[in-house]
Subunit: 142 residues, 2 copies
Amino acid sequence: MITRVDHIGIACRDLAASIAFYQRTYGFEVFHQEVNEQQGVREAMLRINGTDDGGATYLQLLEPIREDSPIAKFLESHGEGVHHVAFGTADVRAETAAVTETGVRALYPEPRHGTFGSQINFLHPKDCQGILTELVQSPVHE
Amino acid sequence: MITRVDHIGIACRDLAASIAFYQRTYGFEVFHQEVNEQQGVREAMLRINGTDDGGATYLQLLEPIREDSPIAKFLESHGEGVHHVAFGTADVRAETAAVTETGVRALYPEPRHGTFGSQINFLHPKDCQGILTELVQSPVHE
């Protein structure tokens, strides 16, 4: 079961500049930063609001750390903008299994490591109305 | 002040098919439907979660009702996918004024009519890291 919009993933060329934009324009602050070597990104999470499942909704700013990162390829073809939409669930394995039973393809056979030590999978954008969709089981509850 | 991610606006060619996809894949239900003549769209709001400011976060599915609708133009150039990101605020006029003071252009000189009788404005994507951004003051609190 999906219980929240967990985050909106945003591709940017310069993480520091993007953080400065969101701080200056809306007053959003960085809640967390990390490097995800597997995904090839340096990222910042800006916490926007709490959600009624005990989680929160974030903007996730993503800068590629190498040329073969999916974010680098996205920037090359699309420029900066929304890269993916992530839905939060209490059980990413069960949710991925349920979704793939409806005919939607998952990108990974097993969940991978996401932000905050979360477990994630992605759903193929061609099966999701053009939207790269992430399922995320986060250990963070606030 | 921005207090929530209000919705993610998604451009689709066939609203009924898009509603059916989200219902079948995730079990999301239609919370509200309306036609917005000014924006040239038929739309459905799928409520995903409540937010800690007393509002909620939705997916907003948007189908154009005429060829000169901005959504029709978006579909022609981008195909189906995320069209905009909307942030909720208690005062759209004050928030628009604050944001434009930082150098970001608003699309309308005065707020227009949005979903649920809300007041909305849009911020220029070229000033917002490639993202068409909506500010929304919603009368709906749950």
